[in-house]
Symmetry: C2
Subunit: 443 residues, 2 copies
């Protein structure tokens, strides 16, 4: 058998421990599949003394993480430290700069610095891989980069954050409200003490930006992402959606203008502008994503020959994430040093962000209004004046909250800018107790 692929592991949290356990448990089988053994030679973490349930004595220890990148006995550095910048980025630059491979689960770093790192990898002929950064154990980067490589992709979308999906599906199942379910998720370890990256949609947006770059052959553009989280969703919204035949899911969606936008030219690639957004959506109950419960992730890619592909599995956890990290290592052991974003960075397109207002679709709007005469007339007049056609409107009292009532509106299909214009007309109205919540219906 050929020489082992020699690995340095930076970061020994749950995923790092999982990688060690995986390589120890399945080592013989991995060596058969990879054509050579994977061998961890050196590790680094903050606290050497901490009990991680794995025996570290056989590996060299570095106190200074960046020295992992200098070791002549290391072929690939696995970065599991996290954080978009700081030590993780320093290590990544140093490893690639030294011509070593880099495998990372760090979505924030790739979303923000993926172009720079991929350029460096390409210049050095070193592999850079990040399957574990998107959808945990689900091989969706491979599915896009290779499995669907023959296709023009028009749209990629999915459930990319397990914490949000756990919260939303638990709210749906139990009828409880957001804050209550979040607190429980935190107690159970499904949500971080500071959950804002998850519940505000940032984490899903990092993943979506990476998928979009690969799917559309375009430069990463995290700054162009429209992001809304789930913290404003109420049990009443979920109940209302259910009554209409929908569930609410946090969906990341990237698509080229065309198809469901105004002024589609009908050509593959559309106008060359790209929509990228993460926001809660109403998903029809018959859609495959509606059945995705708990911490599961699922991604749909729509290609011009393959049609609709679905990839689904565990989006987080030490086992699934380690599975993706080691799959990358096996690819490297087998000799895959292809462009990290499928095509070399120099050949990626720069796609201008599309105007979200051009997007066509139906929307759900929830307004919290004062319980007094004339309010509905004011709202419906604003809709009419903005060109929003109302499909259904339900007004529901919330007696417990002193005179406020909820109005839930579902619009007919139309450009999103009409909905935005209607909200603009209502802005500052004394009738509204809080800004309206708008969610698109997944088409």
């Amino acid at each position: 058998m050929a020489d082992p692929l020699r690995i340095a592991l930076a970061g020994l949290g749950t995923v790092g421990g999982g990688v060690i356990r995986l390589i120890e448990s399945n080592g013989a089988l991995i060596a058969r599949r990879a054509g050579r053994p994977l061998e961890i030679v050196a590790v680094c973490a903050r606290d050497r003394a901490k009990d991680r349930g794995v025996d570290l004595s056989r590996y060299a220890w570095e106190d200074d993480m960046t020295l992992l990148a200098e070791r002549p006995d290391v072929d690939v550095v696995v970065e599991l430290v996290g954080g978009a910048d700081g030590p993780a980025l320093a290590l990544a630059r140093r490893a690639l700069g030294a011509g070593k491979g880099l495998v990372t689960a760090n979505k924030a770093m790739i979303a923000h610095h993926g172009m720079e790192l991929a350029e460096l990898a390409e210049a050095e002929g070193a592999p850079l891989k990040f399957e574990a950064a998107v959808a945990g154990g689900v091989p969706v980067i491979k599915g896009l980069r290779e499995g669907a490589a023959a296709n023009v992709i028009s749209r990629i979308y999915g459930i990319l954050n397990g914490t949000c999906n756990y919260i939303l599906s638990t709210m749906e199942r139990t009828g409880r409200d957001f804050a209550d379910v979040l607190a429980e998720a935190q107690a159970l370890g499904y949500a971080e003490a500071d959950p804002s990256f998850d519940i505000e949609g940032i984490d899903a947006a990092h993943k979506l930006a990476i998928l979009a770059a690969i799917a559309f052959g375009s430069r990463l553009d995290f700054g162009a992402m429209h992001i809304a989280g789930i913290s404003r969703i109420r049990a009443a919204d979920i109940a209302q959606a259910a009554a209409l035949g929908y569930v609410i899911r946090l969906i990341g969606i990237a698509e080229t203008e065309g198809g469901e936008t105004e002024g589609a030219d009908g050509e593959a690639g559309g106008t060359g502008r790209l929509h990228q957004r993460v926001q809660p959506c109403l998903v029809p109950r018959a859609h495959p994503l509606a059945a995705v419960d708990g911490a599961t992730n699922a991604v749909v890619a729509e290609g011009n020959f393959v049609g609709r592909l679905l990839f689904q599995g565990a989006g987080a956890g030490d086992g699934p994430t380690a599975s993706a990290v080691v799959a990358d290592l096996i690819d490297i052991a087998r000799g895959d040093t292809g462009a990290p974003f499928s095509v070399p960075v120099a050949q990626l397109d720069t796609l201008d962000p599309a105007d979200p207002g051009h997007r066509l679709g139906r929307a759900y709007m929830r307004l919290t209004v004062a319980d007094r005469p004339g309010v509905l007339a004011e709202i419906t007049a604003a809709m009419r004046d903005a060109g929003v056609s109302i499909e259904s409107l339900i007004q529901q009292g919330r007696p417990e909250e002193g005179g406020e009532v909820l109005v839930a509106i579902v619009t007919h299909g139309g450009p999103e800018r009409h909905v935005a214009a209607a909200l603009k007309l209502l802005e500052g109205s004394a009738s509204l107790a809080e800004p309206p919540l708008v969610m698109p219906l997944l088409g």
Copy 2:
């Protein structure tokens, strides 16, 4: 840009035409992703004059298919002729023997001759790829061979035949009977004039055998496959399953003994024996496979670190199948010449077939019995004597069929050999109007 990958195409049916259209439509994008253009240089089909809606004048034409394998201007032969033996096999042997790559959508040929062809490919250092042979456009071979490569797979199962799934989901939706829906499917082109390969489960078994070899690192063993088709399923079975909260799907399932079998030793890999079977199963309505309707294919793989992965998409059709063929070509253009079955043939295990009687689970039984006193007593006594524990029993008259009634039984969990023993006791009984139909409940 590097030299083109030069392709010869054997077979110009719907998939062959799809491959030409795909490479013509998406050629520039494919070249960017593959790092070099894909160029079709020569083609061959039975009838040169036939109008296929694509311009063949730019390609060399060979009347003798095997000559494609001799052409010095060809790097890879794409075999889309079909058939386990005959011209397809002759071409495959000749192409690989000449050191050329081979890409094929031919599940029958790979299921029967995959070991010989892979050995030949490995000896010649030539790539052999067959993503399109399983689940059409869904990159499930890649998902297993690479995406889940770090895992011990305990079970792989799924919906592998679009024709059967179309028929079953249409029966479910319309309440119509098998023969009626089959005739419609034939009229619509969803089923062949001779549908036996599909409806008797042979086609799904070919695909399952290929998946099992890759998932378990074992030699192909099509002969060990237990196969039952869907032609005996009645509208009444589907209605009965629905009443119990299940749908009926033709499921291919391969699993190592252990887990849901008797005498599991709890170790990954179990006893080293392999169950492989294709048969209609009752699938709980909440299971992701229950929502798979129409000609869609879906495969679930269960790994010891990644958990449950689901791959889903179009299982047939010119576009999806061409997408998989061209994905293989892109992999080859990128330099992937790895072992076709993930590990070299010489290192594949020979797994003995497991005794299906050891399998533990619940079963649905439908018996057509004479409408006279004592019949139920005879049936339930046989169950008792064979050690089968009955969870529910429903007797339903079919007045239109002269005195016969249906008895539907769902058993508690137990070894399948008990069910087989009960049926043995009832064999030849004058009370049974036809042999019982038995379907497992998917666990």
